[in-house]
Each structure stands twice: as structure tokens, then as C-alpha cells.
Assembly symmetry: C3
């Protein structure tokens, strides 16, 4: 009976985490929370060249881009495919935050047709854009390198990487650069990218409490 109670406790806790977006961690890059893809390298399309024209909105962002800011629910294909083995995506976060970690997710090994399109070597940087017009070039002096990592096909399909050298600055824009993938010469698929952190106010409040 004690064992049963033990087991049930663990199960309920783990399922709760699973039900809470898989990780149980707030994501400031979630589309349904207000984040959006602002810019990206050339997307990969299986169809004819003309589809690119029809699939983009006014700002040149592909209609599939938002898929990387939404849950995938274990489905192969629910990703944003970019051309080649290197590229980038720039995301406007829901709010200005102090970033703590990022999570890169690919489809699970057990249901994947092919995982050679998974990103491999990645670099994540962030900056505070505020209400600047989108057309103004980003002042690279204000950019912060948040983390560099390599996505490992042998580990869990959602891999979290902490921001280096905390405490960090406030950011509302984030950029994921991938410089290699796991073998596909044609394209790289981004299933989901999450950004974890806290809002500046809550920090000040914590500081005041201690």
C-alpha cells in the first residue's frame, strides 16, 4: 500500500508536468502567449517556387514560421523547415524578460521518419528592441550572446540549455542561429523553440523580500 501511494504520487506529479506543456516551465516565446517570428533565413518548400509568394505575410515571414512557437504534440511535420544546414530565426518575445534558459525541441525518435533535419550546432543571442521600428538595423553592440550548444539526437527530444553568465540583461528579442544540422543537405526543421526567464518586476520584488 505504501508502495502504491509512492508510485501514484510520482505518476501524478510527472503527468502534471507532462500536461503542463511537457516541461512545466513558463515559455515567453509561445505564439498563444503573444510571441511572433519577425525574421528568418530562407524557408524550405517542397512544392513549386511560386508557393513562397503565397505563403508569406506582409513582412516576409512564412506562414509556417509560427509552428516553431507552438506545441507539436508528438506529430512529425509540425515544424518550420528552413533551407540548407544553416540559418536563423528572430523572435519577438511576449514581453521583456531576464532570460534564464532556452529549450530546443525536435520530434521524438520513436515517431520520426528521419531525424537528419534536426539542428545541431546552435547559438542564441538576445537584445532589447523596445518600440523601435522593425526596419531599423539592430545595433549589434546591444546584442548579448545567451548560449551556444549542440542538439544531441541521443538525449530527450526537448533539450534545455541555461543562459551563460547570469545575471543577464533584459531582452525582448531573441535570435537562434544554427550553423549545422544532423545530415540533411536540403533543409533543417525547427519543431519548437522556447525561452524561459522571469519578468523584471518579479526580480525586484524578490530582491526586496530578501
Amino acid at each position: 500500500d505504501e508502495i502504491r501511494a509512492f508510485a501514484r504520487e510520482i505518476v501524478v506529479k510527472e503527468i502534471e508536468k507532462h500536461a503542463a506543456d511537457g516541461l512545466g516551465r513558463v515559455d515567453y516565446a509561445l505564439a498563444s502567449g503573444g510571441a511572433t517570428v519577425m525574421k528568418h533565413s530562407e524557408p524550405y518548400s517542397v512544392g513549386k517556387g511560386s508557393s513562397w509568394f503565397y505563403m508569406t505575410n506582409r513582412n516576409g515571414v512564412h506562414s509556417n514560421a509560427e509552428k516553431m512557437l507552438r506545441p507539436s504534440f508528438g506529430e512529425p511535420g509540425q515544424c518550420f523547415p528552413l533551407k540548407g544546414s544553416s540559418g536563423f530565426v528572430q523572435i519577438k518575445l511576449r514581453k521583456a524578460i531576464i532570460p534564464e534558459a532556452v529549450t530546443l525541441e525536435h520530434v521524438a525518435k520513436s515517431v520520426a521518419y528521419d531525424r537528419s533535419s534536426a539542428p545541431k550546432d546552435c547559438r542564441v543571442s538576445g537584445w532589447l528592441q523596445g518600440h523601435d521600428a522593425i526596419d531599423i538595423p539592430v545595433d549589434t553592440k546591444r546584442m548579448f550572446l545567451l548560449t551556444e550548444f549542440s542538439y544531441d539526437l541521443e538525449k530527450s527530444n526537448a533539450q534545455t540549455f541555461n543562459v551563460m553568465g547570469l545575471p543577464s540583461s533584459i531582452i525582448d528579442m531573441i535570435r537562434l542561429d544554427f550553423t549545422s544540422n544532423h545530415g540533411s543537405p536540403s533543409h533543417t526543421c525547427i519543431y519548437r523553440f522556447r525561452v524561459h526567464g522571469h519578468e523584471p518586476n518579479s526580480v525586484s520584488m524578490m530582491a526586496m523580500q530578501s
Copy 2:
């Protein structure tokens, strides 16, 4: 080995429940089952005033209203936001049923940006509308108070409340009134509302069997 078998049994059962819409209980207010929102208090919109006009259908029901009759899958933002800290929603159930319980769900604490928009004090009533025209005012004498409750931020995010004073009457319309929320002055978010019960026929059949 026995322990392993024990543990697996519990796990499989709990995951089954989780996979079965989280609770493993029939929901007669589910949109994909045929239920619809018929009426509601003023919705909350972040954008300009004109959006209200574009976002409503012919009956004055907001296009986001149905979100409260669909699963949220752990995503913040998959809710129907109403203006202020009090308001209501009226739902036509899939079928006339004898109600047993209702479930109010908010986003899980671990992935929420802010939970001050969760409803707090609630009252649920129901009635049998049948094929009456929608415009005819509801005869309040026919309305039944089903339950009153307070949504608790410290408990599980899906909270079920039994109908008071069973056995109850047959209803096909239900109304959720919230008179307070957890602190937001601007709006209250309803992630999901479910209605549990049984169809009249199955009752009669049960009575006949005993």
C-alpha cells in the same frame, strides 16, 4: 518484479485517464461534441475597439468564445477572456441531460504568465430550453441553481464541483456566472468549462434494472 508490475499498472491507468481528456469523464459542453456558447457578457479585447465588430458572428457571440468548450493542452492563452472581474457565459449543451457535476479549468500554475485573471466565486445554473426560439426570455422560474463554488489557485488546475441536491432535473442550457476573479481589474479568462451528467434514458434503464 511485483513492484514493477504494480507501478506499471498505476502508470498505465493514470496515463489513460490523462489521455482521455484529462479527467476520463464525459463532457456534454464540449464543442467537438456539438455544444455551443449562446450568449456571454462583454468580451475583453487587447486590440482596438473595432475588433469587437469583426470578431462576432451573427448572434453576437465572440469567435473566441468556443475556446472555453475545447481542450487547452497546457497552453496559456487558449481561453475566452471577458471584460472585468464579473460576467457570465450561457452554453447550449450537446443534449438534454441530468447534470451531476461541472469542471472549471484554468491554465496550470507552472506555465502561466499570470493567474490573476482566473475566475474565483462562481454560480452555475441550468434549465431546459428545448426548441424555444433563442430570443424568448428565459422563464427564471424554470432555472435551477446547480452549484456555487470558489475556484482555488492552490488546487489542481481542473476543479470539479458536484451538483447540489441530487437527483436533479433535465437541462440542456447551462449558465456560468462569476462574481469575482483572482485580482485582475481588466479581465477574467475562462480556459474550459465542462458539464458532466447522464442522459435521461440511461437513468430510466438503471431504474428498470434495480
Copy 3:
């Protein structure tokens, strides 16, 4: 502590399987993977006769047909309903594969309004169509009977059946015929149909390795 570790290990493994599309098995009939419904018997519609016209695409395939090639996430109603107690669906797979098994899924018992619309006796056949025009009648000599089974309402809601008499031939088209259902005189609902197997290349590679 050892028991805790045991339990957690089992839980994490089972949740991983659950998160990986429920079964943790590759599905070559998944819509998001590129599979499509090519043909089916008369669909069942609740509304007026005219809806049939509006709900079909150019090839006479109903817009709801693809629901059977997508996850249902425990929601009743997320299915493709066909008229009567017998009928069929023909699916073009994502790729030519050597089939190993198929899975037929209905909504879970605990959340279902009524399960009399579940298919019962089924027959699955497959063939290689390649780039033949769709209009050319299938040469029945090339068709393979893959399996015959009966969907059991008392078992798990996703039921997997192995292909009989392996090793089998390469196919890219599959046809599910149901000859009876669990009691509904009006219609039969197909929640999801999956096709498992492997790509011809990977077999040759395995053969070369051994």
C-alpha cells in the same frame, strides 16, 4: 529510494511513449507527414443534403476525411463519419513502405457519448500505385490482403494488428474496408487509422549489416 527510482523510470518511459503519439511508433498514414485520403464511401452528414456539395474538394474527398489521419487528443467528435455500417477509405501513404502493422483507434470509453458507431469487422489491403494517374482503375491482381480483424470495444482504444504472412511487398496505397460496426444503423466513425512499417532502403541496409 530504490522503489522510487524504479517507479520514476517506468513513469518517464510510459509518458514518453504517450507523448510520442500514444504508441511511440512511426505512422506512414499521418496527414502531417504527407499522407492523404484519396477515396471513400459515402460520408455521413448531420445537416442538410447540400452540405455534401460544399464540404468536398475537387476529387470528391470530404473535408473531414483527413481527421482520420490526425491525432484525436481524447476528444469525441474528432473523427470521419461514414454512412451506414459498412464502407471504406483509401489512403495514399507518405511513402512506399513494407507494411508491418496497422492501428485502428476509436474514442476512449470514459469520454465517449456513445460507441455504437465504432467499426467492428475490418479488412485492410494495400498495393503499389506509384505515379499512376488516380483515374486508372486499380489492377486488383496487384492488391495484397494485409490483415483482417475485429475492433474490440473492451480493449484499449488504439488497437494494433500485425500484417499477416510477413515479409510483405512494398505498398504506397492502403484500403480499410469495414463490413460491420458496433450497432449504429446510421453511421460509422473512424477516429484514426495508422500504418506502421519500414522503408525499403532501411531493410536492405539491415540485411547488409547482418
